[in-house]
Subunit: 324 residues, 2 copies
DNA sequence: TTAACGTATGGTACGCGTTTCAGAGCAACC
DNA sequence: GGTTGCTCTGAAACGCGTACCATACGTTAA
């Protein structure tokens, strides 16, 4: 393989000058520049980025970790980050952790070992002290609320999102509202549950333990939830659901059983996935791509030693369709 | 930053021995090994992977390119590749091309510049000669049919998949069948189009140029397609659609306009995405994660100089629901 | 006229770990 | 006793590009 030394010889200049040409340094006279470019062409020179990275001490790569790549939330998040990377000329190293702490450590090592200039955490199960330890090796951005003081975060304000849905349902006259969420133990889950019950107390809505479901993620789950709901003697007039897919399952089953939506049961979803349009589901739009974009921009600024706010909230919006 | 030289000094051995310890080389006596490990611990030594990569001439990173990360097909593909990477101890560098040829070249350079050991192309618009040029710099696997002789491919057998759908429609008595696909210039697009028209000729199905659509990807696109279809004086009795989302859009609009599915228009989708269940769409199930897995395994074998078959087909299955 | 500054170029150290080669020590085998 | 072969260790070269410092020349300002 040819390297800059051979180019330098052929063009009768020093390696330094070759490097200057490659990096568009202004202090190179036109004739030398041309000679170098000519030599590069004739010898089919290809630079070796590993040498560049070693020498410069940075790679222009950022690491992104998510539990599951093919979850719609995370794939949109990654897409947003990917756009920002293309904009900034960064590459994206992606790691699927499956919520496994060993996999997470594996990923953190990429920063430690200087493979990446910074990290974006889509979601993590590692405790704050692990993150604090890693923050000494480079910049880290979390895309969820984080207890660690040493890393900045950007996240979607789920509490206000839930309020949007509940306000809307109350305006429509609903007083009996059920809740259906995904993982009750995740940060998002705890947050949503808490916000829901706070709201309920504040407005003294009626409540029944049968109106609560968790661990629901899929359309199938939604169908199950609907079956349970429809067998209740005393059922809610509206359901707030933490996932468009689950909500779609509920609507699907309602239609099948002849339960009219929204007259007999109003349903709201979460995420504004494409599916929500098809089943005419009122839902809460999360700016997920924007979340990814913002995370990448923040990281970019941090890497270039600009200050950024340590917590950044993004707002949601309620999208009214025919399910409420 | 401490490096192996300092470790060597502290442990009173040579850099070579330190390197041997780090790489678990067997020919190191226990006492020296312990001394090195002790020094590493005391000095908080962290290896620099950029130096390792430069020295070894490889990075254990593979590059993955897709047009759009948050398209369900590609996010599942990436997830499959990600699983395989975790299995093999490889990292994954992800690039979103947006079907832009400059972005594709940008990505190919990662291989040229030795940033990655090999490439997986989710889908590409680059002509075969570009791929051939790149293949001299490293191993490349395509996840769609490729005209390039120099790269191996693994793909889902769209021809037989399309046949499944068409056979089914013919059995139902359909003779007027339209086609709607995504990118007509991608390998998949060319393949599907070709297969469709071959089939059509073979069974002498009627045909009209208005029954063909391409560049359709989203639910919105499907709605547009439906509107155009329904305004035709002479329209097909069935549509074969290359995406569940587009198909869902068609069904959505049909329902809205009171066109009965499948009586007035039968529709088949592609992918068996969750949405197809909700709209009761007959569709073709693709083993997408397996595709990603296989692609990564093939690349792994190629990188380790094992031979692999140059073309690998995966089979599909037809899922009958109520849209046909 | 001289100091000061901008332009242009090269020498060399630096970033850091791996690998090849040479050699020493020691055991086993003929 | 001599040869063969394995275990263990280190010196030095190698992979490759960047950045700092020194230097030389031309120009402008004082």
């Amino acid at each position: 393989m040819t390297n800059i030394f051979e180019i330098a010889q052929k063009a009768k200049v020093s390696r330094t000058t070759v490097s200057r040409v490659l990096n568009n340094h202004p202090y190179v006279k036109a004739d030398k520049r041309d000679a170098v470019l000519q030599a590069i062409k004739e010898l089919h020179y290809v630079p070796n980025f590993n040498a560049v990275h070693l020498s410069k001490g940075k790679t222009n790569i950022i690491g992104v970790m998510v539990p599951k790549i093919d979850h719609p939330f995370f794939s949109q998040l990654i897409a947003g980050i990917g756009d920002a990377c293309n904009r900034h000329g960064y590459s994206l190293l992606l790691h699927q952790s499956n919520n496994d702490s060993n996999q997470e450590l594996e990923f953190f090592n990429k920063l430690k070992y200087k493979l990446v200039d910074g990290l974006i955490l889509g979601s993590t199960i590692s405790p704050p002290h692990v993150l604090d330890e890693m923050a000494i090796y480079g910049k880290i951005i979390s895309c969820e609320v984080s207890e660690s003081k040493s890393i900045a975060s950007v996240f979607i304000d789920h509490e206000s999102g839930l309020q949007l849905a509940l306000d809307h349902l109350r305006e429509q006259g609903h007083q009996h509202i059920g809740l259906c969420i995904g993982n009750a133990k995740s940060g998002v889950g705890i947050n949503r549950k808490q916000s829901f019950f706070n709201y309920q107390q504040k407005y003294q809505l009626r409540w029944h333990a049968d109106w609560y479901f968790d661990g629901k993620y899929t359309i199938e789950d939604g169908i199950q939830v609907a079956r349970q709901l429809f067998s209740l003697p005393d059922r809610p007039t509206a359901m707030v659901v933490g996932s468009d897919y689950v909500a779609a399952g509920i609507i699907y089953e309602a239609r099948k059983q002849g339960v009219r939506v929204p007259d007999s049961l109003a349903v709201t979803g979460f995420d504004n996935q494409p599916i929500s349009k098809v089943v005419e589901l009122s839902t809460i739009h999360q700016p997920i791509k924007e979340l990814g974009n913002t995370a990448a921009d923040l990281l970019y600024n941090l890497i270039h030693s600009h200050d950024v706010p340590s917590t950044n909230k993004l707002n949601l919006s309620f999208i009214k369709r025919n399910s409420t």
